[in-house]
């Protein structure tokens, strides 16, 4: 009995971290300026899906995004967003489309990360929902830990993306500081030497004559 309990405990723990998350895709893609990229997914009705996206680098770190249902109706539309999370329960079965657009930008290409999760997770204990009796304490602890680990995954992804974005900004700032400093120094030299030259030229007659103002 002790061995069975031990094995069950180990199985439960293994199922925690090993259990598959809900089906989904996460991709990082480059969005050139004035371009639009669309993705499609076929889904049943009555399914919940979530779209998370974040701009990692480029320009003002913003992007347009819209989501359409199979009938062409726009169920989500945002312009110039840096990051957002959108959930929806599908009503119609068919192909749903979501697009990222950088059309408002003329010279900065963006790098966008998105995570598209479809459907609910399969329950980690095989007949969790059909059980007549309540879950044992160990089983309910397992379920709680699993949910918390999912939250950890989401949190870590969010922070990883934030770090990437901030690092991109810092590198941009560093570049700008260097270029502008060199530029300013050159301008400083040019202006000051130019001033002296110009002033000297005011008092230099082109035709030889007695220097200075006449009486």
């Amino acid at each position: 009995a002790g061995a069975v309990r031990g094995a069950l405990r180990a199985l439960c723990l293994a199922a925690l971290l090993g259990a598959l998350r809900a089906g989904g895709t996460e991709l990082t893609l480059e969005l050139p300026d004035s371009a639009q990229r669309c993705f499609h997914q076929e889904m049943e009705s009555g399914i919940k899906f979530t779209l998370d996206y974040q701009v990692i680098s480029g320009g003002h770190y913003d992007v347009d995004c819209y989501v359409e249902d199979p009938n062409g109706k726009t169920i989500y539309q945002e312009t110039k967003k840096q990051y957002d999370s959108f959930s929806h329960h599908t009503e119609v079965k068919g192909v749903y489309t979501f697009c990222f657009s950088n059309e408002f930008s003329t010279f900065s290409h963006k790098i966008v990360y998105f995570d598209f999760q479809v459907g609910d997770e399969p329950p980690i204990l095989p007949d969790m929902n059909k059980r007549v009796t309540a879950l044992t304490q160990m089983e309910s602890t397992c379920v709680t830990i699993h949910e918390m680990l999912n939250a950890v995954i989401d949190s870590q992804t969010h922070y990883r993306l934030r770090e990437a974005q901030d690092r991109s900004r810092a590198e941009e700032l560093n570049g700008r500081v260097s270029y502008w400093s060199v530029g300013e120094t050159l301008i400083l030299f040019m202006v000051s030497i130019g001033q002296v030259m110009l002033l000297k030229s005011f008092f230099t007659e082109k035709r030889p004559s007695s220097g200075g103002a006449g009486t």
């Binding site: 090993g18 991709l27 669309c38 770090e163 560093n174 500081v177 300013e184 400083l188």
Partner: protein, 200 residues
């Protein structure tokens, strides 16, 4: 398969994966060609293939192979950084033929090792636990690698910020010194000039 998107016949589409070293990446794809007559995508298009190219952060090509209309590719990263996975069809048709496009279904998994659930339906419970635990250990190693990579990136970030900070300070000092010395030079130069011109 899951998500899909459209590309032109000869267009190359790339995605970026920022991953730590020693990470296994597995990708599944399926490509379909648009049929003008049926106004739909072919279920399968024989002869249509896909070039899959994977470039490592140092520019080295890790994978460059031609696969069929449906396939699985995988690679393991040596360096940590941004790997670029590019897809291009081997179609020799030009996009001049109106309305010709391809549909690519894509599913990419990073660092996850999947095993068949059916493999571990062993009669022996201990073996099943064993296999699951080994899988778990592998996943935890992946978590550790991701965290090490994150630490590297944060260090690079911190260095950049500190460099910016000291750059600003240094340039401010240098520019002030230049300003002062040029000011002195200007005055001296003009004074000598006016004295020479007998204006002063």
């Amino acid at each position: 398969l899951a998500l899909y998107f459209h590309v032109g016949e000869r267009e190359e589409k790339c995605i970026i994966e920022d991953i730590p070293s020693d990470t296994l990446v597995v990708g599944n794809y399926k490509v379909q060609r648009w049929d003008i007559h049926k106004h739909d995508f072919h279920e399968s298009a024989p002869g249509l293939g896909m070039f899959v190219t994977v470039t490592s952060p140092s520019g080295e090509v890790l994978l460059s192979k031609l696969y069929g209309p449906q396939g699985t590719f995988s690679f393991t990263s040596y360096l940590s950084g941004e790997h670029i996975i590019c897809f291009q069809s081997n179609s020799t048709r030009f996009a001049v033929t109106a309305g010709s496009k391809l549909r690519i279904h894509l599913d990419i998994r990073v660092g996850e090792h999947f095993f068949d659930e059916s493999d571990i339906q062993a009669k022996d419970k201990v073996n099943e636990v064993n296999t699951r635990l080994e899988h778990l250990i592998e996943q935890i190693h992946h978590v550790a690698r991701e965290q090490d990579y994150e630490r590297e990136r944060e260090e690079k970030f911190r260095k950049t910020s500190e460099e910016t900070n000291s750059n600003i300070l240094w340039w401010a000092i240098v520019q002030t010194l230049i300003l002062i010395s040029i000011g002195i030079w200007q005055i001296k130069s003009l004074r000598d000039f006016f004295i020479a011109k007998k204006l002063v």
